[in-house]
Symmetry: C2
Subunit: 218 residues, 2 copies
DNA sequence: CTTAAAATTTAGACAAGCCTAAAAAATAAA
DNA sequence: TTTATTTTTTAGGCTTGTCTAAATTTTAAG
């Protein structure tokens, strides 16, 4: 069995490997966990002892098969609970992350199985992230960052990369959400800013925004 | 903010005060928490420092107003989650306690408020225990132990005292549940055993059973 | 290729919660 | 009321997960 802290480290390492490739540095982990490098080293060594990560001193860490399976299971639980909070309890999509961070650690396979059924086996969470199935399989989705689109290309918003409450609230004020149709009207080479159209309204957005919105292009 | 351990101690002390009156002994607490008296003493001193219990060395502990309010809130969460598990996820009443023990520590007032609404503001949990309202008020219920009934008296089962899975499963096999109508057919003075009638079937039950079933007499 | 800087690890401490063993206080028995 | 027993507390340790400060290794710069 794994402690809450161990589970959180595994999840952090999973996300870091996903975003920046395999072999995660101690500092990157410490950063993500909002702790000191020395604390991260301690935990990395413990997780290596437990065979859930492979690790060589000074060389970074990677999840083993077992570690990945644990991490994915936590992510599955997190995302299912987010669906529950939004679909059943009517939370907004920017309010659910912190609560799901707690709920993801509840230990009961039966509970998750029944929750999944109750929610109708959802494929995506409220931010458009795919929900791993009970075997840990994550359906690959073809999605593109809005920042990669050229002038006149368009797509449907299928997810957000950043999912801080602030960013999500920003999107809310612009009526951008999962399912929104977005078209690039103008793109500035110099600073990558864009003018986009969302249901016949046009907005000016910075690179910081376009780099955090995933679209499925049509 | 209170730690998981602190919350569990507060809950234990609340239940002990409820069952056996105010001023709970260190041993009783240690027993309930399945730990050693010395560990209980440590925690009692910490809780006293935090002003959630009043305590004098060698004299036992009692919840302060603040401590009681925290304990009741945890119990409210526990019972609401139990309703959720049974009503929405179709768990059996003997399967929900352990999961609710985990869920009761999730920290979010908003979550509980919405869960309560989602469940339709239930008054009782699946074992017949009253759910405190958001102000901590517990509606007093007039219920009687089956063991207190005399021959030919009857009532409706409104709760169980013991709520271990084993006892609940015992009741299931006899088709006794919340709402069942129970009549005392015969009562043995010597060992307090009884013959009872539940929907035109008669059973023989021991004192151990009748002392753990609450009825509302008609 | 040698030195400076950055990243990482080790050493030693600390708080929370638990433990065992021993001391102290309260209660029961003689 | 004095002694024996039980209850409770204290003392000292252990583990988990954190920290700071110092040592070590790796990487980057000159």
């Amino acid at each position: 069995m794994f402690t809450l802290a161990e589970e959180n480290y595994l999840k952090a390492i999973f996300h870091l490997e996903n975003d920046y490739g395999t072999g995660v540095s101690t500092n990157a982990i410490a950063d993500k966990m909002d702790t000191r490098a020395s604390s991260a080293t301690d935990m990395i060594q413990k997780l290596a002892d437990k065979k859930v990560i492979s690790y060589q001193k000074y060389k970074g860490a990677s999840l083993t098969k077992k570690g990945k399976s644990i991490a994915v299971n936590i992510i599955r639980k997190h995302r299912l609970w987010e669906v529950f909070l939004v679909e059943k309890l009517d939370f907004q999509w920017d309010e659910v992350h912190e609560i799901a961070e707690q709920l993801e650690h509840i230990k009961s396979d039966e509970l998750i199985q029944r929750l999944d059924l109750f929610l109708g086996h959802p494929d995506f969470d409220p931010h458009g992230d795919p929900i791993p199935d009970k075997n840990g399989y994550i359906k690959p989705t073809e999605k593109k960052l809005l920042s990669k689109l050229k002038k006149n290309q368009q797509g449907i918003c299928v997810g957000v990369k950043e999912s801080s409450a602030k960013f999500l609230q920003y999107l809310d004020t612009r009526k951008i959400g999962i399912g929104s149709s977005i078209k690039v009207i103008e793109k500035e080479d110099f600073d990558q800013s864009m003018t986009i159209q969302v249901s016949n309204k046009q907005f000016f957005i910075t690179k910081q925004i376009s780099e955090n919105l995933y679209l499925k292009t049509i």
